[in-house]
Each structure stands twice: as C-alpha cells, then as structure tokens.
C-alpha cells in the first residue's frame, strides 16, 4: 500500500468523526485532526482503533501519541505495515 492509498483509507476512517465538510474534502498530509477537522479528542481513540482494524496492525502508545495529523499517522501506518510484511 503506498502513501496515497493510505491517505485515501484514512479519509474514510476520519470522516464520521468530523463535521468540517470543507476541511474533509481538502484532506492532505498537513491536515491536523484537532485544529483542522475539529475532531473531539475522545474520538481520536476511535480513529486509532479503526486504523488497527482496517490495516490489521497494532498501534502502541508511543505511536498513538504522535497521531494528531495525517502526515504522522500515515508514516506510522506505513511503518507498521512494513514491519508486518517483513
């Protein structure tokens, strides 16, 4: 799965937790879950759990700590998928 494919999958995951329709259509690497998408912090946990299920990976606490924006989240997913494949 390449970076663009991960971002596409991520869009589908975060969509139900944001009411910022304009920001949702403009999601890119620089999108911040809290500042741009106004996602409630308690729902960040749901996003992490959705990612674990969708990609069949496990997100440890140190990785979760960084998952506040699309860029960091995409990097973590790519890393975990690679570790999984290896």
């Amino acid at each position: 799965m390449n970076k663009e494919e991960i971002i596409e999958a991520l869009k589908t995951i975060v969509q139900p937790y944001s009411e910022e329709s304009t920001a949702l259509t403009q999601i890119d690497e620089n999108t911040d879950f809290i500042n741009d998408l106004k996602i409630n912090s308690a729902n960040l946990v749901d996003i992490v759990l959705d990612i674990e299920e969708k990609f069949n990976i496990e997100i440890d606490n140190d990785s979760m700590a960084k998952m506040l924006n699309v860029k960091a989240t995409t990097e973590i997913i790519a890393q975990k998928l690679e570790a999984h494949a290896g």
Partner: protein
Amino acid sequence: MLGNDIVDLDLAKIQSNWRRKNYLNKIFTAEEQLLITSAEKPDEVVWLLWSMKESAYKIHNRKTGIRNFAPKSLNCTVYASASEIKGKVSIDNDTYFTKSDIQLQYIHTIAAPVYSRLEEIKVAIYELPNHPHDYKRTKPGSISHHGQYLALVY
C-alpha cells in the same frame, strides 16, 4: 497556569462508545480501568477521569510545549468525599491538582499546578444559546467547549 475541561454528558453518550473493545485500554491505566469497571455509575467515572486528564494536559502542554496524544501517561488519583471530588494527575515528574463538579448534564474539572490555587479559581459555565460572543476579551485562563457548554476559568 490553569486548565479546565467540560464534558456534555448527553453528547458524550452519542459521540463516544467507551465500551468498544480496547477503548479503555488505550486511554486509562490499569488502576483507572479498575475504578471504572467497579463503579456503580461507570459512565460518570469514565468522563470524570477523562476531564481530569484533559484539564491537566492543557497546563502540561503549555508548560512543556509538547503536543501529543498520550492519555495513558496521565495518571489520575481520585479523592472523593460527600461534598467534593478532588484529584491528582501525574505525568512524568509533574503533578497537577484537580477539582471536579458532576452534574446530571455535564462534568466539569478545573486543574492547577499548585493545590492551594484550586480554591481561588473562578468558574463560568454557559449553556447554548447563551454563550457570550466576546468571552476572549475577558482573558480566561483556560477555555473548554463541548456540546451545549462553554466553560471558562479565571
């Protein structure tokens, strides 16, 4: 420095399903999970602990300049009596003190880095549609929004 956090309980009910598998384990320490699962009103304890963590994080984030999502690294201890719910939130070598107010519609927590400061904090809570437009001019020490509520502390 001050922190505060309000949880609109009606909104929390529809916005978050904390009973979802692994949810609690991502946010709460083993001791906190024990408090929740053994509580008579687990919903109340979930949002009490969450508001304690959020209000302490708001101070810690400003103090350290570190922005992250590591709710499990904030360790809550609750000291409840018949009249009030006080608490302590520890992260690394820092400790923040909290006082919480549990109402039917919301849970509100204030936090301070010094225990004696708690009693001096002034709280203003507004329910929609009565949120003042110019509240930022009043220079609140911390701002929290959730659902119907706007909570300011000074």
